[in-house]
Symmetry: C2
Subunit: 215 residues, 2 copies
Amino acid sequence: MVRQILEWNENCHDEIHSLLNDKNVLMINVMGSPGGGKTTLIMRLIESLKSKYNIGVIEGDIAGVIDAEKIAAMGIHVVQLNTEGACHIEAMSIKNILPQFDLDKIDILIVENIGNLVCPAEFDIGEDLKIALLSVPEGDDKVEKYPLMFTRSNALVINKYDMKAYFNFDENRVIKHAKAFNKDLEIFPINSINGDGFNDFLNFIEKHIKKGSAK
Amino acid sequence: MVRQILEWNENCHDEIHSLLNDKNVLMINVMGSPGGGKTTLIMRLIESLKSKYNIGVIEGDIAGVIDAEKIAAMGIHVVQLNTEGACHIEAMSIKNILPQFDLDKIDILIVENIGNLVCPAEFDIGEDLKIALLSVPEGDDKVEKYPLMFTRSNALVINKYDMKAYFNFDENRVIKHAKAFNKDLEIFPINSINGDGFNDFLNFIEKHIKKGSAK
């Protein structure tokens, strides 16, 4: 039965991907554990890109609107997707939400997935880029323990890198195992306080933007 | 279909619960995000209790044996349960593993669930106590975002409490929302470096032990 659900998701994500491609919208799926800093990373991206591009955000949460309110306060069109218990976002939910965006005007659509290092990695949602976020306090053994997330992502952000000294975190262990699963994975350690390392990640994202907006 | 799986799990967890009750074995299900410190908490419990009680451990992981090896090095009988992708432990897996323990001799059976703040909360596995672990770096908004875990647990350990100053963490926000969902939830902030607060949690666990062993 899980297989059947995945196949159904598959058809739907292809349809979303084609639609967004026709509209030259870059869709980014941001995934990681609860509390790793997904929202903060997205807000930093928005801050850096909003003067040049039109951005839309889909905020995935089990419950509540905490993060969506933060994004909306930045003047960004955000749609809250509450899964009401489900541990990941499926393509069908994205398909249902897309009409709430003017895709002719949007350049970048960012989806913040449910905080979960396991299930979201299984479900393509029509995105161009999967971003895995791992924060230093989670520990340097997470790639070995939760391989799929790192195998299927285009980029890995190692967040809260400034906390490295407090958590006995060996980034070489992370990089070694992540590259063994996925040799093309691009890895960006980011210092969450002063933003060191963020510009490399920003350049990576900008390289994938498909159009310049009327802005 | 999910409903059907849950019902099937339900029957099985009742059977496990009865069996362990007959044998006076206390079963503890430890749940929380990846990297919150579940293994470290379990190791501290073992260190405090192993001279008085016989302890068995089931280590749940998507992949690998990293944590099981740490537990085995303490001289504890541990069985590794690899879910090979699945995001939680189901009762049927526990049932299949139980014959590997001598339940007449075991006083406490600790299950470390998959690192995941969502799915494990949905699945009873025959346990007496559900322990939710939230670590300070994950942030103080997690109860609101992932309510089921906190609603269904008997105790909440707020781990890495010594990191509070670095993460702008307001434990009153956590406690307020957790108690609103679950007024009987017992809450234990624990300093992971010097162990402050651990003894209260240890007393809570000891209160639930059903028998003294031959030790």
